[in-house]
Amino acid sequence: MGLEKAKIILGVIGADCHAVGNKILDHALSAAGFEVINLGVLVPQEEFISAAIETDAKAILVGSLYGHGEIDCRGLRDRCLESGLNDILLYVGGNLVVGKTDFDAVKEKFSAMGYDRIYAPGTLPDEVIADLKADLAKKGVRHG
């Protein structure tokens, strides 16, 4: 109240249809006071960008569960920059690569792609919410 809610873009990227985690994150983030713009599943990169521009979002939360995350997530940071989203937070989570893999290697890979935070399979919403609050606070964004 009083304060405006921080806007967050949420979506599952690429040809990925896993909807359950997305629905739960939507519910939890909304309950935590964020204004969630949930693009649902099967979201192309462009749609994340245009939604972020339209709503002046502070963060994009990309989900990828089905294994093609490595291919699908590449280049999103560049597109953000190209579109003038210079300061936006990029989070990514889910089952990001094909197969059971050492998570440190995955983290490195996605970090190199420009993601600010990378989440392991099975991450619970509370962790994401705490990080988001902290990162937004650092950027001087508060939310009600």
């Binding site: 040809a15 359950v20 649902g40 399979p121």
Partner: protein, 483 residues
């Protein structure tokens, strides 16, 4: 186009076919008559429908993994490893997600990246890109019957290529490969496209080639009540039968309460026989498939083995014809072939240990069969009514009205009004029955079951209960109790 549950004429079919085969270069490889001759050369032991029929008669439960990688030789090695080391009775070729979305260019890209990387960057086997010749290399090199498993809303070209390639079984359906897998593809379109696939199977049947068809039973895999998935399965069976399909396997995804799971398989068999007969399809051979728990898995492998085993036990006790097997890597990613074989072996051991002890049809099972049947009948009969006596048209209207409603579906054609949760014994019930056309008695039944749990837990039924149930198995419980 007006969607009707009516067998397509050859003219209708062949008119569309011309276009379908142009969707990707490999479509040109399809030669139906040659394919019929090719099927005649497939030996009985590699024949899916025949193997299922035999198992049904013998009271066996067969094991089948999910598996698919980007490149042909790797795919062959994988399947043979699962047949030998994993003792799999039936084999799959799980199709990658780009192909499922008809993104053949991305699939091609995935093949090439996989070649370069020396490992599969695709989450399945891109059969369309590999074409008829590529598919046949698989069918010929592999030691068992193989089925196409995917999740493709528009699977027309994939069906053409894989059947011409010699696959003898094919998963999917116009509802079950739309509602859990798509966001904005209309049911009208997918049911129509799947009539094409079913008609193709029907035409093969007219030419003496028996191909097994299997609607995807578990849907979103997440707390789907038996009557909801049974309704979809039976509608798809009817739609397939109308197009001339003769060998059908109906599926169900484990809920986790043994009584409910055993009852669900029994009810599914009995209801499907009843509805097919009632609507004039008397010459289909029906079998059942039980999917081990399709929701979130525990990350710990030892715990995953427990979930796998419980699924194997329920499949065996319910006497399903086959069981689709999970792996100890489930929570993380596509399994290695070793992990896949482990899931298969665990399942095989349990199934063979239990094959001599059928679960008695107790009062509790009987009661559960009755409730599942009553619910399913409410839904099916209303769908038929909404369609003015037509299941195809009725299905489209039923989803609009929430008469058919699948929990956690990503599709905008799904109302998403019902909310499932477990009762105090772990059976999946509805704490919100949405617009499902249930009798007051059934609605009250669900309400009482939820009230019983709510009272036990000292909280009221809410969306938090649903969330707790979604995480429960991966966190070690069946019922998501408050901490």
């Amino acid at each position: 186009m007006e969607l009707k549950n009516k067998k397509w004429s050859h003219d209708e079919f062949y008119a569309m076919r011309k276009d379908v085969l142009t969707h990707w270069a490999t479509g040109a490889e399809v030669d139906f008559d040659e394919a019929v001759r090719y099927h005649a050369t497939i030996p009985a032991k590699k024949h899916f429908a025949k193997r299922l029929t035999k198992a049904k008669k013998a009271g066996e439960t067969l094991t089948q993994p999910r598996a698919g990688v980007a490149l042909i030789d790797e795919h062959i090695n994988l399947l043979n490893y699962l047949a030998e080391e994993g003792e799999a009775d039936l084999l799959p070729s799980t199709i990658d997600s780009y192909t499922r979305q008809n993104q053949y260019k991305e699939a091609q890209n995935g093949i090439e990246e996989s070649l370069r990387a020396g490992r599969s960057l695709l989450n399945g086997f891109p059969a369309v890109n590999h074409g008829v010749a590529g598919v046949r290399r698989v069918v010929e090199a592999v030691k068992g019957p193989v089925q196409v498993r995917h999740g493709t809303p528009d699977a027309r070209l994939l069906t053409e290529i894989t059947l011409a390639g010699g696959f003898t079984a094919y998963e999917g359906g116009g509802i079950s490969y739309n509602i859990p897998y798509a966001k904005s593809v209309s049911l009208e379109k997918t049911i129509f496209d799947w009539q094409y696939c079913d008609r193709l199977v029907g035409i093969y049947a007219e030419h003496g080639v028996e191909i097994n068809r299997e609607p995807f039973g578990p849907l979103t895999g997440t707390l789907v009540p038996p009557s909801v998935s049974h309704s979809v399965a039976i509608i798809e069976a009817i739609l397939a039968a109308e197009q001339g399909v003769k060998n059908i396997t109906l599926g169900y995804g484990q809920c986790g309460n043994l009584i409910q799971d055993v009852a669900a398989i029994k009810a599914l068999e009995q209801l499907a026989e009843e509805y097919l007969a009632k609507h004039g399809y008397n010459d289909c051979l029906l079998t059942t498939v039980f999917h081990q728990w399709m929701g979130g898995f525990p990350q710990d492998e030892a715990k995953a083995f427990a979930v796998i085993s419980w699924g194997a036990a329920a499949a065996a006790l319910a006497k399903a014809t086959k069981v689709i097997v999970k792996t100890p890597h489930e929570a993380f990613g596509i399994p290695t072939k070793e992990a896949n074989a482990q899931g298969l072996k665990t399942t095989k051991q349990l199934i063979s240990m239990l094959r001599d002890q059928p679960f008695p049809i107790t009062q509790e099972v009987e009661a559960e069969i009755n409730i599942i049947k009553a619910e399913t009948r409410c839904i099916l009969d209303k769908v038929f009514e909404l369609g003015g006596g037509d299941f195809a048209a009725g299905t489209v209207r039923a989803f609009e009205a929430g008469i058919l409603d699948v929990p956690f579906s990503p599709s905008k054609y799904n109302l998403n009004k019902i909310l499932p949760a477990r009762d105090n014994n772990g059976a999946v019930r509805l704490f919100n029955t949405g617009n499902l056309p249930f009798t007051q008695e059934i609605v009250d039944f669900h309400r009482e079951k939820m009230a019983e749990r709510a009272k036990f837990e000292g909280r009221s039924a809410s969306f938090q209960m649903v969330i707790d149930d979604i995480y429960a198995i991966s966190h070690g419980r069946l019922v998501g109790r408050p901490k």
